[in-house]
Symmetry: C2
Subunit: 105 residues, 2 copies
DNA sequence: AGTTTGCGCAACCGATAGGTTGCACGTATA
DNA sequence: TATACGTGCAACCTATCGGTTGCGCAAACT
């Protein structure tokens, strides 16, 4: 099944994997050592991350190094963009409030 | 139960609610009209969004207008920051590649 | 060639997510 | 005050999620 990045990011283990991968590509076994769960459990998370293309496999003999796909992560950034203006506005309103309070003193 | 924001945005309906709310505060009934599901289903999504403080209720008589909480939404931005440098690097590498190709011509 | 190692896939299982219906309660309206 | 309206909460049901164990296969080692 095709996964979407929002669902992929929802799981804390998968977020931890992404954080690790972003620094250095790792094999499934190397990841499993970092977490308190079986390799197969980690492998399932890898599958989800791979299906939505947040990570890319690079084969090296019988080992597979999974690399972080920054480009895909940007999709999340783009989604966030629709709200960015929103919170900038809210901060401007806060600035205005603070200014008003200052003027009242 | 305390929800976390990543799990909250994993659901497409909740993302749609946030998009609506970002433009204008709405009541649960008003939201339910936008989606093909019962008011109670929407209400459950509202509960999740409220528990992780992505939305704020403002009571007005017997109606409740839910407002968008931009400040909370920024937490995503902060989480993304750890990867931002990562994809900038990746783009620099792409630039280098393109330059190399150009030089080869 | 036989054994070990790294990996993915399938079957299974308990917990939870997301939907439904029904109900209770406070607020507006007649 | 009686009635209608807007909302939240609880019970229930099915599908999916995240974990497990067991297996098969290809690559590396001896």
């Amino acid at each position: 099944m095709k996964q979407d990045i929002f669902q992929a990011i929802a799981d804390p283990t998968r977020r931890a994997i992404l954080t690790l991968i972003a620094v250095q590509a790792l094999t499934p076994n190397a990841m499993a050592e970092k977490f308190d769960m079986t390799r197969q459990a980690v492998s399932k998370h890898i599958k989800v991350l791979h299906e939505c293309e947040l990570i890319k496999p690079v084969h090296s003999g019988r080992e597979i190094y999974y690399h972080f796909n920054a480009k895909k992560m940007q999709e999340f950034d783009h989604w966030l963009a629709q709200f960015r203006q929103n919170w900038e506005t809210q901060f401007n309103q806060l600035d205005q409030l603070l200014t008003t309070i200052k003027e009242q003193k």
